[in-house]
């Protein structure tokens, strides 16, 4: 009798606890799948990852111990610095980087604002982890003409500016919309192409230089090229945790699949290349830090990337031969980053050091591995102009993260087949 008197209280307590527990669990659970069932999510992605993981010849950053012999090309004066001028104005904007026009006479800076766009529909993998992308910045896109030292705002809400091949217009994403800015009329128009309003749609979608759009066609769909027939590499399924890097001609694509743990099963970060013939080449494992620093050569035949190790390296993968070349191996663990190809693919500029142990400096190395040059002390993020005569680079700012400078270069050594200026 006494027991039964407490029964309702116990039941109520249990229910309360259960509902509290459920609410707690629900509160902790990020909502990765609003529109998609777990068992049908990311099938293509899982298939690519499964076949990549089955390879045992992948370069694995988590186990790689570099050779003890450094690979340091001979130091030689390759270029002279003719001029070094600060270009970004002290207007309080956070200029984070720029994209050169194909002709090299202008560049578009990306300057994130304090405004943001919420990620409402995340495209996240089902995960034991609780890292969640919640928003992306709205950004000003600002056009800069070095010769005239003039600035022109293109938009207050744009991302991933991409020059048209003829340098007459700039395509960019305004949220989900693909826009076209005409240089001569200084007017922006909507192209009619649109990405879905999801995490992948907002973060990964990007214009191609011919006005097409790499984006999912609908929420949670694979990436496709819109505006034309499907390229041979077909649909590519990515989650919001993945990173995508298109080749200069848009016909090859590097996908860095982010690491994830689900139901206690850890899947490492994997990097693959999708080729125009539909083949997929597995490339890297546990190398997300390398993958996000990867850069295509202008001749689209190679990708270069740094490897963070106790003796840091720069590697070049040749997509035609499938061979990897170690271009530089330091005898220190100093960070190598910010790789940028010269337009003729003969040199790589890069940053050595990160101001923690070793001060930053900008170096050049010939991609045949014969010569190197310390171009300057203190800079980072070199960005070679298409005419090969300038390098845009950053220095830590005094009132903002980065200030940007422009170097004018002249060759110090006679380049075969070219006249000295």
């Amino acid at each position: 009798m006494r027991r039964s008197r407490f029964l309702p209280v116990l039941v109520l307590l249990a229910l309360l606890l259960l509902s509290a527990g459920i609410a707690t669990v629900a509160g902790r659970q990020v909502t990765p799948f609003l529109d998609k069932q777990e068992n049908e999510a990311f099938t293509l992605r899982a298939k690519t990852i499964g076949s990549t993981l089955s390879r045992n010849d992948l370069f694995d950053c988590s186990t790689y111990v570099p050779d003890t012999h450094p690979l340091l090309p001979i130091e030689q004066q390759i270029f002279h610095v003719v001029r070094d001028i600060k270009v970004t104005p002290d207007d309080g904007k956070d200029y984070l980087g720029a994209v050169w026009s194909p002709s090299g006479d202008a560049m578009v800076f990306v300057a994130p604002t304090g405004d943001h766009r919420d990620i409402l529909n995340s495209d996240a993998l089902p995960s034991d982890e609780d890292t969640q992308l919640v928003a992306i910045s709205k950004n000003e896109l600002v056009l800069y003409f070095p010769d005239r030292n003039t600035w022109k705002q293109i938009t207050s809400d744009g991302a991933r500016p991409t020059w048209s091949t003829d340098a007459r217009s700039i395509y960019y994403m305004a949220g989900t919309d693909l826009m076209k800015f005409d240089i001569s009329t200084q007017a922006a128009t909507y192209t009619g192409l649109r990405a879905p309003n999801t995490g992948v749609g907002l973060l990964v979608s990007r214009p191609l230089s011919d006005g097409r759009l790499l984006a999912p066609r609908q929420p949670h769909a694979p990436l496709e090229v819109q505006g034309d027939e499907m390229p041979a590499w077909g649909p590519i399924e990515v989650a919001v945790s993945d990173y995508v890097l298109l080749s200069p001609q848009g016909d090859q694509i590097v996908v860095a699949y982010g690491a994830n743990t689900w139901k206690g099963q850890f899947v490492p970060a994997l990097t693959v290349i999708y080729h125009p013939n539909g083949e997929v080449t597995p490339l890297l494992k546990n190398c997300q830090a390398s993958a996000i620093e990867m850069v295509w050569s202008p001749d689209r035949n190679r990708v270069a990337y740094p490897v963070r190790a106790q003796r840091s390296e720069i590697r070049i993968y040749d997509v035609r031969s499938g061979q990897t070349q170690v271009l530089v191996r330091l005898d220190t663990p100093d960070l190598l980053s910010g790789l940028s190809w010269s337009p003729d693919s003969r040199y790589l500029a890069f940053t050595l050091g990160d101001d923690r142990v070793t001060p930053r400096s900008i170096w050049l190395v010939s991609t045949d591995g014969t010569t190197r040059q310390r171009l300057m002390a203190g800079g980072l993020l070199p960005n070679w102009s298409p005419d090969g005569e300038h390098i845009l680079y950053a220095r830590p700012g005094t009132t903002r993260l980065l200030d940007w400078y422009l170097l004018e270069l002249s060759p110090a050594i006679q380049i075969e087949g070219e006249q000295r200026k």
Binding site: L7, G21, V110, G114, L133, V134, L203, D354, L381, T398
Partner: protein, 221 residues
Amino acid sequence: MNRQLRASMMLAALGLTLLLALMWSSTANALIPSYKHRHRYINPDYTYSYYETGKEDYIKNTLPNEWYSTWDADTLQAGAVIIRSGVYWRVNRSVLGSPWPNNNCYKGGSGSTLYYRTVPTSRGGQEQWLPNSSQSSTNSAIDATYGYHAELVSPSATPRPDNLVGLRYNPTIQNRTHNTTGDWLTRIRYAYLNQGDPYDPNHECSQIDDQTSTNPFYPNY
């Protein structure tokens, strides 16, 4: 009646088990309150992404990029505890009433969320939190040291978590935890006693904070 009683008792037991589980969980987290971190991260395309992450996932996406995952488990565990100590330092400064000034790219807190700017060193920042970069060996080291932070390092040290940042942001901390022997605690003690050039927690943050920001999404306190 008996069946009802059994069912109710089972439910109650379930509820109580859940309660105990919740209590255990909050006790385990009590060392470092389980605040969400909101990071502003610079993407390779020069835009910002805002991420929310719990403290353990924050460590899992930092440790493999600041230590070397090929190193032995004791070194990685020392690294995990040191990075967790940095988290504790931030939480302490943010919400536990530390009277010492805060900088190091801290942006404030609101409710159960703390705000930071996390800029990779390759893009001008000070630390290497990279989303989706966790690795198996470093994850194991982090799980093996769950709940520990370096306040336990030295009884003679001033018991003030702010001092621990000297470990977290010391530029040679990785090698000092590697170039010795013993378990993670021994390695941290060694690293702490041989700090070399300590990080000054009152040094101005190199990632300039906009002290006038009124953006409610990214508040400045």
